[in-house]
Symmetry: C2
Subunit: 225 residues, 2 copies
Protein backbone atom coordinates (compact mmCIF):
# COMPACT_ATOMS: atom_id res chain seq x y z
CA UNK A 1 0.00 0.00 0.00
CA UNK A 2 1.26 3.50 -0.92
CA UNK A 3 2.50 5.91 1.70
CA UNK A 4 0.78 9.26 2.18
CA UNK A 5 4.05 11.04 2.84
CA UNK A 6 5.30 10.06 -0.62
CA UNK A 7 1.99 10.45 -2.46
CA UNK A 8 2.04 13.23 -5.01
CA UNK A 9 -1.76 13.56 -5.02
CA UNK A 10 -1.68 15.36 -1.68
CA UNK A 11 -0.01 18.34 -3.37
CA UNK A 12 -3.38 19.19 -4.87
CA UNK A 13 -5.35 19.41 -1.63
CA UNK A 14 -5.14 20.49 1.98
CA UNK A 15 -3.28 17.32 3.03
CA UNK A 16 -0.09 18.98 1.77
CA UNK A 17 -0.13 21.10 4.92
CA UNK A 18 0.22 18.11 7.22
CA UNK A 19 3.64 17.44 8.73
CA UNK A 20 5.70 14.38 7.87
CA UNK A 21 4.73 12.83 11.22
CA UNK A 22 1.03 13.48 10.70
CA UNK A 23 1.22 11.95 7.22
CA UNK A 24 3.00 8.86 8.50
CA UNK A 25 0.31 8.38 11.14
CA UNK A 26 -2.49 8.85 8.61
CA UNK A 27 -0.74 6.54 6.19
CA UNK A 28 -0.85 3.75 8.74
CA UNK A 29 -4.59 3.92 9.20
CA UNK A 30 -5.87 4.86 5.78
CA UNK A 31 -7.60 2.36 3.49
CA UNK A 32 -7.20 2.27 -0.27
CA UNK A 33 -10.11 1.25 -2.41
CA UNK A 34 -11.10 0.78 -6.01
CA UNK A 35 -14.55 1.99 -7.04
CA UNK A 36 -16.08 0.99 -10.35
CA UNK A 37 -17.81 3.36 -12.75
CA UNK A 38 -21.40 3.93 -11.68
CA UNK A 39 -20.85 2.73 -8.12
CA UNK A 40 -22.08 4.89 -5.26
CA UNK A 41 -19.33 5.89 -2.81
CA UNK A 42 -21.79 7.27 -0.28
CA UNK A 43 -25.36 8.45 -0.43
CA UNK A 44 -27.42 11.14 1.25
CA UNK A 45 -27.90 10.31 4.90
CA UNK A 46 -24.84 8.06 5.22
CA UNK A 47 -22.48 8.60 8.12
CA UNK A 48 -19.22 8.95 6.27
CA UNK A 49 -16.93 9.01 9.30
CA UNK A 50 -13.89 10.19 7.44
CA UNK A 51 -12.64 11.82 4.27
CA UNK A 52 -11.76 10.36 0.91
CA UNK A 53 -8.77 11.51 -1.10
CA UNK A 54 -9.31 10.94 -4.81
CA UNK A 55 -6.14 9.33 -6.21
CA UNK A 56 -7.63 8.69 -9.64
CA UNK A 57 -10.91 9.00 -11.49
CA UNK A 58 -13.86 11.36 -11.35
CA UNK A 59 -17.14 11.40 -9.47
CA UNK A 60 -20.26 13.51 -9.23
CA UNK A 61 -21.86 14.92 -6.08
CA UNK A 62 -25.60 15.01 -6.47
CA UNK A 63 -28.84 15.23 -4.54
CA UNK A 64 -32.13 13.57 -5.29
CA UNK A 65 -34.95 16.08 -5.56
CA UNK A 66 -38.58 15.39 -4.71
CA UNK A 67 -39.42 15.38 -8.42
CA UNK A 68 -37.25 12.30 -8.86
CA UNK A 69 -34.39 14.07 -10.62
CA UNK A 70 -30.83 13.92 -9.43
CA UNK A 71 -29.26 17.38 -9.37
CA UNK A 72 -25.47 17.37 -9.77
CA UNK A 73 -23.89 19.98 -7.52
CA UNK A 74 -20.20 19.38 -8.10
CA UNK A 75 -17.73 17.30 -10.11
CA UNK A 76 -14.86 15.94 -8.02
CA UNK A 77 -11.62 14.95 -9.73
CA UNK A 78 -8.20 13.46 -9.02
CA UNK A 79 -6.54 15.37 -6.21
CA UNK A 80 -9.75 16.54 -4.55
CA UNK A 81 -11.01 15.58 -1.12
CA UNK A 82 -14.46 14.13 -0.61
CA UNK A 83 -16.60 14.29 2.50
CA UNK A 84 -14.88 17.19 4.32
CA UNK A 85 -18.11 19.08 4.83
CA UNK A 86 -19.83 16.25 6.66
CA UNK A 87 -16.67 15.60 8.64
CA UNK A 88 -16.65 19.16 9.94
CA UNK A 89 -20.29 19.51 10.85
CA UNK A 90 -20.50 15.94 12.10
CA UNK A 91 -23.67 15.50 10.09
CA UNK A 92 -24.54 12.71 7.73
CA UNK A 93 -23.86 13.24 4.03
CA UNK A 94 -26.00 15.85 2.33
CA UNK A 95 -25.07 14.63 -1.13
CA UNK A 96 -24.55 11.38 -2.95
CA UNK A 97 -21.15 10.62 -4.50
CA UNK A 98 -21.20 8.44 -7.61
CA UNK A 99 -18.16 7.39 -9.66
CA UNK A 100 -18.24 8.62 -13.26
CA UNK A 101 -15.40 6.27 -14.19
CA UNK A 102 -13.24 3.77 -12.35
CA UNK A 103 -11.72 5.41 -9.29
CA UNK A 104 -8.95 4.92 -6.79
CA UNK A 105 -9.64 6.38 -3.37
CA UNK A 106 -7.91 6.58 -0.02
CA UNK A 107 -10.16 6.71 3.00
CA UNK A 108 -8.91 8.44 6.14
CA UNK A 109 -10.98 7.74 9.28
CA UNK A 110 -12.51 10.69 11.09
CA UNK A 111 -10.67 10.18 14.39
CA UNK A 112 -7.29 10.51 12.77
CA UNK A 113 -7.95 13.64 10.79
CA UNK A 114 -10.11 15.60 13.23
CA UNK A 115 -7.18 15.94 15.62
CA UNK A 116 -5.10 17.41 12.83
CA UNK A 117 -7.87 19.88 12.07
CA UNK A 118 -7.83 21.00 15.69
CA UNK A 119 -4.07 21.04 16.15
CA UNK A 120 -2.55 21.99 12.83
CA UNK A 121 -3.85 25.46 12.04
CA UNK A 122 -2.13 25.60 8.66
CA UNK A 123 -4.06 22.48 7.69
CA UNK A 124 -7.40 23.72 9.01
CA UNK A 125 -6.86 27.06 7.30
CA UNK A 126 -6.28 25.21 4.03
CA UNK A 127 -9.48 23.24 4.49
CA UNK A 128 -11.21 26.52 5.29
CA UNK A 129 -9.89 27.99 2.06
CA UNK A 130 -11.17 25.06 0.03
CA UNK A 131 -14.55 25.30 1.69
CA UNK A 132 -14.66 29.06 1.04
CA UNK A 133 -13.89 28.39 -2.62
CA UNK A 134 -16.65 25.78 -2.83
CA UNK A 135 -19.06 28.23 -1.23
CA UNK A 136 -18.23 30.91 -3.80
CA UNK A 137 -18.80 28.45 -6.62
CA UNK A 138 -22.09 27.33 -5.08
CA UNK A 139 -23.28 30.94 -4.76
CA UNK A 140 -22.42 31.56 -8.40
CA UNK A 141 -24.32 28.44 -9.44
CA UNK A 142 -27.38 29.65 -7.53
CA UNK A 143 -27.29 32.93 -9.46
CA UNK A 144 -26.90 31.11 -12.77
CA UNK A 145 -29.69 28.66 -12.00
CA UNK A 146 -32.02 31.47 -11.06
CA UNK A 147 -31.25 33.97 -13.75
CA UNK A 148 -29.92 32.25 -16.84
CA UNK A 149 -31.52 30.18 -19.56
CA UNK A 150 -30.83 26.47 -20.09
CA UNK A 151 -28.89 27.48 -23.19
CA UNK A 152 -26.59 29.80 -21.23
CA UNK A 153 -26.12 27.36 -18.37
CA UNK A 154 -25.20 24.54 -20.72
CA UNK A 155 -22.71 26.74 -22.58
CA UNK A 156 -21.13 27.74 -19.27
CA UNK A 157 -21.01 24.14 -18.08
CA UNK A 158 -19.09 23.08 -21.18
CA UNK A 159 -16.67 25.98 -20.73
CA UNK A 160 -16.28 25.21 -17.01
CA UNK A 161 -15.41 21.58 -17.68
CA UNK A 162 -13.03 22.59 -20.44
CA UNK A 163 -11.20 25.15 -18.31
CA UNK A 164 -11.10 23.20 -15.06
CA UNK A 165 -10.61 19.61 -16.14
CA UNK A 166 -8.98 19.98 -19.56
CA UNK A 167 -9.18 18.01 -22.77
CA UNK A 168 -8.02 14.77 -24.30
CA UNK A 169 -5.35 14.81 -27.05
CA UNK A 170 -8.14 14.98 -29.69
CA UNK A 171 -9.55 18.11 -28.05
CA UNK A 172 -12.65 16.48 -26.57
CA UNK A 173 -13.53 17.23 -22.95
CA UNK A 174 -11.57 14.89 -20.70
CA UNK A 175 -14.51 14.51 -18.35
CA UNK A 176 -16.94 12.27 -20.19
CA UNK A 177 -20.53 12.90 -19.17
CA UNK A 178 -23.75 11.44 -20.49
CA UNK A 179 -26.41 13.76 -21.84
CA UNK A 180 -28.35 12.93 -18.68
CA UNK A 181 -25.41 14.11 -16.55
CA UNK A 182 -25.33 17.38 -18.48
CA UNK A 183 -29.08 17.75 -17.92
CA UNK A 184 -28.58 17.08 -14.20
CA UNK A 185 -25.82 19.68 -13.91
CA UNK A 186 -27.78 22.32 -15.78
CA UNK A 187 -31.04 21.39 -14.08
CA UNK A 188 -33.13 20.63 -17.10
CA UNK A 189 -34.83 17.72 -18.83
CA UNK A 190 -32.60 15.27 -20.73
CA UNK A 191 -34.41 16.07 -23.98
CA UNK A 192 -33.85 19.79 -23.47
CA UNK A 193 -30.13 19.28 -22.86
CA UNK A 194 -29.84 17.12 -25.98
CA UNK A 195 -31.79 19.66 -28.02
CA UNK A 196 -29.55 22.53 -26.94
CA UNK A 197 -26.40 20.52 -27.65
CA UNK A 198 -27.75 19.75 -31.13
CA UNK A 199 -28.35 23.46 -31.60
CA UNK A 200 -24.78 24.26 -30.50
CA UNK A 201 -23.58 21.72 -33.07
CA UNK A 202 -25.64 23.32 -35.83
CA UNK A 203 -24.25 26.71 -34.88
CA UNK A 204 -20.69 25.40 -35.07
CA UNK A 205 -19.99 26.09 -31.40
CA UNK A 206 -19.18 22.47 -30.60
CA UNK A 207 -18.44 19.23 -32.43
CA UNK A 208 -19.48 15.83 -31.14
CA UNK A 209 -17.55 12.60 -31.57
CA UNK A 210 -19.98 9.97 -30.32
CA UNK A 211 -21.03 11.23 -26.92
CA UNK A 212 -17.78 13.15 -26.57
CA UNK A 213 -17.89 16.92 -26.93
CA UNK A 214 -15.24 19.17 -28.41
CA UNK A 215 -15.39 22.94 -28.26
CA UNK A 216 -15.12 24.39 -31.75
CA UNK A 217 -15.69 28.08 -31.05
CA UNK A 218 -15.10 29.01 -27.44
CA UNK A 219 -15.65 32.72 -28.01
CA UNK A 220 -19.02 31.93 -29.55
CA UNK A 221 -19.91 29.69 -26.61
CA UNK A 222 -19.03 32.48 -24.20
CA UNK A 223 -21.27 34.85 -26.09
CA UNK A 224 -24.29 32.53 -26.01
CA UNK A 225 -27.45 34.43 -25.10
Amino acid sequence: MGKCEQCIIKQFNALKSLSKEELVRISSCKTSMIIKKGDVIFEEGDSINGVYCVKDGICKLSKLSSNGKDQIVKIVVKGDLLGQRSLITGETANLQATALNDMELCFIPKNEIVNDLLNNSKFSFDVLKEMAHDLKEADDIIVNMAQKTVRQRLAETIIYIHENFGTNPDGTLSVLLSREDFANIVGTAVESAIRVLSQFKKEGLIVTIGKRIKINNIEGLKRVE
Copy 2:
Protein backbone atom coordinates in the same frame (compact mmCIF):
# COMPACT_ATOMS: atom_id res chain seq x y z
CA MET B 1 -18.11 52.23 22.54
CA GLY B 2 -19.15 48.70 23.64
CA LYS B 3 -16.58 46.08 24.57
CA CYS B 4 -16.42 42.80 22.62
CA GLU B 5 -15.67 40.78 25.74
CA GLN B 6 -18.97 41.89 27.26
CA CYS B 7 -21.03 41.82 24.07
CA ILE B 8 -23.75 39.19 24.10
CA ILE B 9 -24.01 39.09 20.31
CA LYS B 10 -20.78 37.12 20.06
CA GLN B 11 -22.54 34.13 21.64
CA PHE B 12 -24.30 33.59 18.34
CA ASN B 13 -21.20 33.31 16.16
CA ALA B 14 -17.66 32.01 16.06
CA LEU B 15 -16.30 34.99 18.03
CA LYS B 16 -17.46 33.21 21.19
CA SER B 17 -14.44 30.93 20.82
CA LEU B 18 -11.95 33.74 21.20
CA SER B 19 -10.18 34.11 24.53
CA LYS B 20 -10.73 37.08 26.83
CA GLU B 21 -7.36 38.49 25.72
CA GLU B 22 -8.16 38.11 22.04
CA LEU B 23 -11.51 39.81 22.55
CA VAL B 24 -9.94 42.72 24.42
CA ARG B 25 -7.45 43.21 21.60
CA ILE B 26 -10.19 43.07 18.95
CA SER B 27 -12.35 45.40 20.99
CA SER B 28 -9.65 48.03 20.90
CA CYS B 29 -9.43 48.09 17.13
CA LYS B 30 -13.00 47.42 16.02
CA THR B 31 -15.21 50.14 14.61
CA SER B 32 -18.95 50.42 15.26
CA MET B 33 -21.20 51.74 12.56
CA ILE B 34 -24.82 52.46 11.84
CA ILE B 35 -26.14 51.56 8.39
CA LYS B 36 -29.48 52.82 7.15
CA LYS B 37 -32.11 50.70 5.46
CA GLY B 38 -31.31 50.32 1.78
CA ASP B 39 -27.65 51.27 2.16
CA VAL B 40 -25.00 49.04 0.61
CA ILE B 41 -22.45 47.74 3.11
CA PHE B 42 -20.16 46.38 0.42
CA GLU B 43 -20.60 45.46 -3.19
CA GLU B 44 -19.21 42.82 -5.50
CA GLY B 45 -15.55 43.46 -6.19
CA ASP B 46 -14.92 45.49 -3.02
CA SER B 47 -11.90 44.65 -0.90
CA ILE B 48 -13.58 44.18 2.44
CA ASN B 49 -10.41 43.80 4.53
CA GLY B 50 -12.15 42.52 7.60
CA VAL B 51 -15.32 41.00 8.96
CA TYR B 52 -18.53 42.59 10.14
CA CYS B 53 -20.41 41.36 13.19
CA VAL B 54 -24.13 42.16 12.93
CA LYS B 55 -25.22 43.64 16.25
CA ASP B 56 -28.68 44.56 15.06
CA GLY B 57 -30.77 44.57 11.89
CA ILE B 58 -30.94 42.40 8.79
CA CYS B 59 -29.28 42.47 5.41
CA LYS B 60 -29.35 40.55 2.14
CA LEU B 61 -26.40 39.09 0.26
CA SER B 62 -27.03 39.25 -3.46
CA LYS B 63 -25.32 39.14 -6.81
CA LEU B 64 -26.17 41.04 -9.96
CA SER B 65 -26.73 38.75 -12.90
CA SER B 66 -26.05 39.61 -16.53
CA ASN B 67 -29.81 39.88 -17.13
CA GLY B 68 -29.94 42.84 -14.75
CA LYS B 69 -31.63 41.00 -11.90
CA ASP B 70 -30.23 40.85 -8.41
CA GLN B 71 -30.27 37.30 -7.06
CA ILE B 72 -30.45 37.09 -3.26
CA VAL B 73 -28.27 34.26 -1.98
CA LYS B 74 -28.58 34.65 1.78
CA ILE B 75 -30.30 36.67 4.50
CA VAL B 76 -27.96 37.72 7.30
CA VAL B 77 -29.42 38.58 10.69
CA LYS B 78 -28.39 39.83 14.13
CA GLY B 79 -25.60 37.66 15.50
CA ASP B 80 -24.21 36.61 12.12
CA LEU B 81 -20.82 37.46 10.71
CA LEU B 82 -20.44 39.09 7.33
CA GLY B 83 -17.48 38.88 4.98
CA GLN B 84 -15.75 35.79 6.41
CA ARG B 85 -15.54 34.08 3.04
CA SER B 86 -13.67 36.91 1.37
CA LEU B 87 -11.45 37.24 4.44
CA ILE B 88 -10.37 33.63 4.15
CA THR B 89 -9.71 33.45 0.44
CA GLY B 90 -8.26 36.96 0.38
CA GLU B 91 -10.45 37.71 -2.62
CA THR B 92 -12.68 40.69 -3.17
CA ALA B 93 -16.35 40.33 -2.28
CA ASN B 94 -18.34 37.95 -4.47
CA LEU B 95 -21.65 39.31 -3.25
CA GLN B 96 -23.24 42.62 -2.41
CA ALA B 97 -24.53 43.24 1.12
CA THR B 98 -27.52 45.59 1.41
CA ALA B 99 -29.30 46.54 4.64
CA LEU B 100 -32.96 45.52 4.73
CA ASN B 101 -33.56 47.72 7.75
CA ASP B 102 -31.45 49.98 9.95
CA MET B 103 -28.40 48.08 11.16
CA GLU B 104 -25.73 48.26 13.77
CA LEU B 105 -22.43 46.65 12.78
CA CYS B 106 -19.00 46.17 14.27
CA PHE B 107 -16.13 46.01 11.82
CA ILE B 108 -13.03 44.03 12.76
CA PRO B 109 -9.99 44.69 10.54
CA LYS B 110 -8.46 41.74 8.70
CA ASN B 111 -5.03 41.96 10.37
CA GLU B 112 -6.44 41.48 13.80
CA ILE B 113 -8.64 38.52 13.09
CA VAL B 114 -6.47 36.58 10.66
CA ASN B 115 -3.92 35.89 13.38
CA ASP B 116 -6.64 34.46 15.56
CA LEU B 117 -7.73 32.23 12.70
CA LEU B 118 -4.19 30.89 12.42
CA ASN B 119 -3.49 30.57 16.13
CA ASN B 120 -6.78 29.72 17.82
CA SER B 121 -7.85 26.40 16.36
CA LYS B 122 -11.14 26.35 18.29
CA PHE B 123 -12.01 29.64 16.63
CA SER B 124 -10.99 28.54 13.14
CA PHE B 125 -12.88 25.28 13.59
CA ASP B 126 -15.97 27.28 14.50
CA VAL B 127 -15.60 29.42 11.40
CA LEU B 128 -15.12 26.21 9.43
CA LYS B 129 -18.36 24.85 10.86
CA GLU B 130 -20.28 27.98 9.91
CA MET B 131 -18.85 27.85 6.42
CA ALA B 132 -19.74 24.16 6.12
CA HIS B 133 -23.28 24.98 7.18
CA ASP B 134 -23.50 27.77 4.59
CA LEU B 135 -22.21 25.37 1.94
CA LYS B 136 -24.88 22.81 2.77
CA GLU B 137 -27.58 25.45 2.53
CA ALA B 138 -26.17 26.69 -0.77
CA ASP B 139 -26.15 23.15 -2.18
CA ASP B 140 -29.76 22.70 -1.14
CA ILE B 141 -30.72 25.98 -2.80
CA ILE B 142 -29.07 24.84 -6.03
CA VAL B 143 -31.19 21.69 -6.00
CA ASN B 144 -34.36 23.68 -5.32
CA MET B 145 -33.59 26.24 -8.01
CA ALA B 146 -32.95 23.53 -10.53
CA GLN B 147 -35.75 21.14 -9.74
CA LYS B 148 -38.66 22.95 -8.14
CA THR B 149 -41.33 25.29 -9.44
CA VAL B 150 -41.60 28.95 -8.48
CA ARG B 151 -44.62 27.99 -6.41
CA GLN B 152 -42.67 25.41 -4.40
CA ARG B 153 -39.66 27.66 -3.98
CA LEU B 154 -41.77 30.53 -2.73
CA ALA B 155 -43.60 28.28 -0.26
CA GLU B 156 -40.26 27.00 1.04
CA THR B 157 -38.85 30.50 1.30
CA ILE B 158 -41.77 31.60 3.48
CA ILE B 159 -41.34 28.53 5.68
CA TYR B 160 -37.57 29.06 5.88
CA ILE B 161 -37.95 32.66 7.02
CA HIS B 162 -40.63 31.64 9.50
CA GLU B 163 -38.54 28.84 11.01
CA ASN B 164 -35.18 30.61 11.04
CA PHE B 165 -36.03 34.21 11.82
CA GLY B 166 -39.34 33.91 13.65
CA THR B 167 -42.44 36.06 13.77
CA ASN B 168 -43.71 39.31 15.25
CA PRO B 169 -46.30 39.23 18.07
CA ASP B 170 -49.10 39.37 15.46
CA GLY B 171 -47.74 36.27 13.76
CA THR B 172 -46.35 38.01 10.67
CA LEU B 173 -42.85 37.13 9.51
CA SER B 174 -40.36 39.22 11.47
CA VAL B 175 -38.16 39.66 8.40
CA LEU B 176 -40.02 42.16 6.27
CA LEU B 177 -39.26 41.72 2.59
CA SER B 178 -40.69 43.47 -0.44
CA ARG B 179 -42.32 41.40 -3.16
CA GLU B 180 -39.25 42.19 -5.24
CA ASP B 181 -37.00 40.70 -2.54
CA PHE B 182 -39.12 37.55 -2.54
CA ALA B 183 -38.80 37.40 -6.33
CA ASN B 184 -35.04 37.82 -6.05
CA ILE B 185 -34.73 35.04 -3.48
CA VAL B 186 -36.87 32.64 -5.49
CA GLY B 187 -35.32 33.69 -8.77
CA THR B 188 -38.43 34.76 -10.60
CA ALA B 189 -40.08 37.89 -11.99
CA VAL B 190 -41.69 40.28 -9.51
CA GLU B 191 -45.09 39.78 -11.16
CA SER B 192 -44.76 36.02 -10.85
CA ALA B 193 -43.90 36.23 -7.16
CA ILE B 194 -46.87 38.51 -6.53
CA ARG B 195 -49.16 36.23 -8.51
CA VAL B 196 -48.12 33.16 -6.53
CA LEU B 197 -48.52 35.00 -3.22
CA SER B 198 -52.02 36.04 -4.28
CA GLN B 199 -52.73 32.42 -5.09
CA PHE B 200 -51.46 31.31 -1.66
CA LYS B 201 -53.79 33.90 -0.15
CA LYS B 202 -56.78 32.59 -2.10
CA GLU B 203 -55.95 29.08 -1.00
CA GLY B 204 -55.84 30.17 2.63
CA LEU B 205 -52.17 29.21 3.05
CA ILE B 206 -51.11 32.74 4.03
CA VAL B 207 -52.71 35.98 5.10
CA THR B 208 -51.28 39.37 4.20
CA ILE B 209 -51.40 42.47 6.35
CA GLY B 210 -50.16 45.19 4.03
CA LYS B 211 -46.89 43.86 2.70
CA ARG B 212 -46.46 41.68 5.78
CA ILE B 213 -47.06 37.96 5.45
CA LYS B 214 -48.50 35.63 8.02
CA ILE B 215 -48.58 31.86 7.63
CA ASN B 216 -52.12 30.59 8.03
CA ASN B 217 -51.68 26.92 7.18
CA ILE B 218 -48.09 25.76 7.48
CA GLU B 219 -48.91 22.14 6.73
CA GLY B 220 -50.62 23.23 3.53
CA LEU B 221 -47.62 25.35 2.60
CA LYS B 222 -45.31 22.40 3.15
CA ARG B 223 -47.49 20.29 0.88
CA VAL B 224 -47.45 22.81 -1.99
CA GLU B 225 -46.82 21.05 -5.30
